[in-house]
Symmetry: C2
């Protein structure tokens, strides 16, 4: 299979053709005349590497709108009340809904940790989406539970690594330092090393986490994880907001990638703004995530980009403290790097995960600065086409791999059962 995208506008403002062969980009140049099985005219559209959402709990779309405007305690209680009831079929329905939303919003890969992950993987397989999936482990210090959690997580890796033409890869996700014992954390790192897959963990999301860690382990979260050997180039640390400068330097020096989730942090009123300037200074790899829909309540990476840039600017009283090129890079190549993936850039030899954005929508004109318009003016509805692994999954906003109406209907039905 080959696919030729003609006349796409690049970030530079210049136009180019993009040739895809199989799952890879094989050529980008001003005019490609090669024959291709399929052709897309991208005149008036911006071509961008698909966005990589590095922290999700996709199936939580079913809880969108539950526990709104509540304290963290009440929100947790409201979410837990439905989460304990969730069936595998509901996880499937919620994931399909999330994938539909993500594709329509320009995301081509997501990094997910949750449970009933076989259903998550099945939903991803059907959808044409790319994802890094892992079973989220929690032991609360219980040795029996630990053993069974590790078994489920490892079995999932064995069953799904590299499946769906390579679109599905796996990770090892111990939930967090407060829900996982020292032993579980250490065993997780061993598993991540053994299978050469990312270790995905929540880190320094709330002040409480920091204080509790200090109280339990006499160390702040980053040095505590470091003391267990958990900080490596395979680590994707979600949130990373309550950090000291020294912790940022430590994370950077170990090659850890941050997944910043500003919208979720703000919605839950955590109080912090990510130390992005310090991360950039330390040359830490930064990527972006939305978190689950229960705490956001959107999976739009465009929204996440603008929130991160503007909150950092405002918090530092410095409009140069975060720039559009930095933020767009975090949403694309930073995400791919975090997941160890050959994607996140429009370049020959990279995975053909590409989105097209309507540059002629009123909110995207004029095009003085393509990158700034993408970060500060675009919304999820401006994405017209999406190509994942060389295959067109959305064309002129119509999903080709999923029946959008059915996906929404089924999710709505399952969601209603949860609150009935």
């Amino acid at each position: 299979m080959s696919l030729l995208i003609k006349n796409a506008t690049l970030l530079s403002g210049k136009k180019a053709d993009i040739l895809i062969e199989g799952s890879l980009i094989s050529e980008i140049s001003p005019s490609i005349t090669a024959r291709a099985d399929e052709k897309i005219d991208a005149n008036g559209k911006i071509a961008l590497p698909g966005m990589v959402n590095t922290h999700t709990h996709a199936a939580m779309t079913l809880f969108r709108g539950i526990g709104e405007d509540a304290t963290l305690h009440d929100w947790l209680a409201a979410v837990r009340a439905v989460e304990v009831k969730v069936t595998p079929a509901q996880i499937h329905a919620g994931t399909s809904l999330a994938v539909a939303e993500m594709i329509k919003g320009g995301t081509t890969c997501f990094n997910d940790m949750y449970f009933h992950m076989d259903e998550v993987a099945a939903a991803v397989q059907e959808s044409g989406m790319r994802a890094v999936l892992g079973y989220s482990m929690v032991d609360m210090g219980d040795a029996g539970k630990r053993k069974s959690e590790l078994k489920i997580a490892e079995q999932f890796i064995k069953d799904w690594q590299g499946k769906a033409d390579g679109r599905i890869t796996t990770s090892v996700p111990p939930h967090s330092l407060y829900l996982c014992s020292r032993e579980l954390l250490v065993a997780s790192e061993a598993m991540s090393k053994k299978y050469k897959v990312p270790l995905h963990i929540h880190l320094s999301e709330t002040r409480k986490e920091v204080f509790d860690c200090l109280s339990s382990h006499k160390l702040r979260p980053v040095p505590y994880l470091d003391s267990l050997g958990l900080l490596t180039h395979r680590t994707v640390a979600a949130h990373c907001v309550w950090l000291t400068k020294e912790e940022v330097k430590m994370l950077a020096s170990r090659g850890v990638s941050a997944s910043l989730n500003p919208v979720s942090n703000m919605k839950l009123a955590g109080g912090a703004i990510a130390p992005l300037p310090e991360m950039q200074e330390a040359k830490m790899n930064v990527s972006l995530g939305t978190d689950g829909s229960a705490s956001n309540d959107s999976l739009s990476m465009f929204e996440t980009m603008k929130f991160l840039a503007l909150t950092v600017k405002n918090a530092r009283w410095d409009a140069t403290a975060a720039t559009a090129p930095q933020i767009l890079a975090a949403a694309t190549e930073g995400g791919a790097r975090a997941l160890g993936m050959n994607a996140g850039a429009l370049a020959e030899g990279k995975l053909a995960d590409i989105i097209l954005i309507d540059a002629r929508a009123p909110n995207m004109a004029p095009l003085h600065n393509v990158t700034a318009n993408l970060v500060y003016s675009a919304h999820a509805g401006n994405v017209t086409d999406s190509i994942i692994n060389g295959k067109v999954v959305m064309r002129e906003r119509k999903l080709l791999t999923l029946d959008e109406e059915k996906v929404v209907e089924s999710a709505q039905k399952e969601a209603e059962k949860l609150t009935a």
Copy 2:
């Protein structure tokens, strides 16, 4: 002309029919069987009063992407460099682009202050949009300039008040206390009183404004304006971020409406978060604005709602400090109240400014909480239909009153001339 909207979902989650006769809503009830000239099936759609954007400089869409990620000084210089060159034709093109973007994003009325306002009004007249327009006055203490500014502003009111079937009304906008003399401010209030139209002014947007006011007038901005009699129920004060609690109480007691512009404030790194909880406590009328595209760079009121709610929650470390119903009310009825307009609510006798939102888009499902989904999950692309003054101006995302392609093309061409 009559228009019947069938099966619309209301904020309560219940369905209703809405009958429009002429420019007004004449009936809302579970099932209306009356005949109407036109019918819209709103099954699967949420009906909402159109959003009211209470602070814009619409034509600045032409500068979108200019002066990005720059200090306030460099940004001002970059914008001024193009602003001084702007022609009346360019103001027209930029306003048409803004109106197209606003209609597509669910805004049905905007409150604009800028220059070459006859062109702004002409663009609004053609578009089917509702707007409150005023010539932005600046005298810098020059008596001659003051006289001519007041003359232009008054002539504009005489020429345009009530035009376009009542869609265009006018305002008196002295720019700010730092670009207007005491005499100009006092004369502005007299004009606002004479014509019974809003007085629209920038207020307490930056720390510098506060310090300079203290230094020049020995008063903070709010007491200074109060000493000149500028604070009345006709006053729409844009920004209102650098305020003391006493100033909030003073604004509230005078009946002033705030227009909060969180996205613009954050993009320019002003450093403040609006004192929304204090405003709510003082029962001050709060409305929302986007400001111009040079400092946002979007005119989406959906985005503005989410930014305001989340920044307030996060700044106060309290997820209950701003709620979806409060924020949605500010974007609709708060805006109408600020402008003294019989709109902003779906109720019999109100102006028929109504938008429909796709409740079946993947990012809007499930519908556990309609209001929360509108504030936290929706984006501008979810708006499907727009009715202004009883007339359908957008149907299934197609603009009926403007030629979208031409508007975008013309704006792009004019914008390129500006930077050539």
